[in-house]
Amino acid sequence: MNLMADILINVIIAFLAGSLLLGLHRKVMARVQKRPGPPIVQHLIHSLKFFFKETAIPKTVSKVFYIGIVFILALVWIVGVIAGPVAHDSLLILFGVYAVYKIVEHNSGSSSGSPYGKLSCVRAVLSAATELPLFAAIVFVYLITGTMNIGEIIAYQSAHGPLVFTIPLAALMFFMLIITKSPYSPFAITKDKALISGFETEHFGFLRGFMLFSESIAWYVMLWVFLTIFFGPLNAVGYLIGMIVISFVTGFINATTPILSPNHSVMTQITIGAICFFGTVLMIFTGVVA
């Protein structure tokens, strides 16, 4: 297939699937809390609706970054789709994509001049604690498979079985990242409701539309990467079931867990990350992992 068509189709799939999965996530949370909740398509409708809403720009903003950052956010997750589902390229590129996502969280908060955005920006720096477990999980995948290339990791798993059975604690570390980035997560300190919508508070109209568009793609890409490097190789049905199950599980966790304070959030993430890290190292050195 033509590369450009492949990219376009995958981006559209990522947006539509990501939006519906986030809608499902919200629905699950509502039902756990004994509320009817919005329809599953609501997130998708919201995302599209914002593109046609009036856009207001506060007079306090740093305009170039305030506007530019949402396009960077969309662009960077499109790169994520290209490096992941389209090209099966290096995991390190996806690590870089995630790093830029953190920067966007940081800068869209601070560029508005709003105190809510600013606090969210400072918390984005604190929440960098999730990157170390992510880094460790990627390195463990590399140590076991001997490659960072997603295509080769899939080939390794088709010969030796899914990595989740070999390095389950590394998979748990990655899953913690997914929980962190899911809506209403106990670790979502940058979007704490005490900060209104955190770094998104001052972005309106089509700028917010771009943010929701990117959020959907981000959710799809993160789930895709998790399923691919720990449960591969999967076919389309396998991915669909996997993504629904993860959205369901994270929805249940988030519905029953209050948001933690920034310090508790960071300490919990570091503690879980450290236990999983040393657990995996122990498994490797004691020969549990071949």
Partner: protein, 223 residues
């Protein structure tokens, strides 16, 4: 381990004597993002930060003055370029030099602000960065002494001896401290409370990207 296994297909090299810059999709992505952000910084004006005033219902506007703006913009652009250099360098010592420069510039970018908490944070970060420059350069020196080269292309083809592993561990400690990531971010987070969004973004961006690049470099050296 070679470049291709880690970062994707080798797109090209830029030989500058014994310093060989190289580009894989991974390095190119990081390099392009940093240059893009540096360009945005050069074009941006800072935001006006709104803060609540104690004991009254008024707001306080915190702005970056013209002289401070010029100084911080200059340092931010240099920081962006240094970080971009660290993304494509094929020389271990150059990477440590770029890293140290980024650490110094990070402090410089907030040194002109007048908020005490921000300056305190920059001072604490500066202390950690200074202390960590010893393991950073020491680690690179030990790797040079053990292998006779600082070229990543050559190091990636060599088996890792115990001294190389020791040097790499020292470098990792140095990188963590110099970039101020976990667990050292506690000293750095307050620096981000000041106004001047285009300038403080490069502090965060340079630290994160250097960590991402460091992962590649350490894997190249060790495996």
């Amino acid at each position: 381990m070679d470049f291709v296994t880690l970062g994707g297909n080798l797109l090209g090299t830029i030989p500058l004597g014994d310093i060989v810059l190289y580009l894989t999709p991974f390095n190119l992505f990081l390099f392009a993002v940093l240059l893009g952000f540096t360009l945005l910084i050069a074009l941006s004006k800072p935001e006006t930060q709104i803060e609540a005033t104690m004991h009254t219902l008024n707001n306080t506007e915190v702005k970056v003055g013209p002289k401070e703006f010029k100084q911080r913009r200059f340092l931010s652009i240099i920081c962006g370029l240094a970080s971009a250099g660290a993304m494509i360098t094929g020389d271990l010592f150059n990477f440590t030099l770029f890293m140290a420069l980024v650490g110094i510039l990070n402090i410089g970018i907030v040194s002109a602000v007048k908020q005490t908490s921000v300056l305190n944070s920059a001072f604490n970060y500066g202390l950690i960065a200074m202390m960590c420059s010893l393991p950073l350069f020491g680690g690179a020196s030990i790797i040079l002494a053990a292998t006779g080269t600082l070229s990543l292309a050559v190091l990636s083809q060599m088996p890792a001896s115990p001294m190389v592993v020791f040097g790499a561990v020292l470098m990792l400690i140095g990188i963590l401290g110099e970039s101020g990531v976990a667990p050292f971010f506690a000293s750095k987070a307050e620096m981000f409370r000041t106004a001047g969004s285009p300038f403080i973004v490069i502090i965060h961006l340079s630290s994160l990207f250097i960590i991402v690049r460091a992962v590649e470099i350490l894997l190249l050296v060790l495996w």
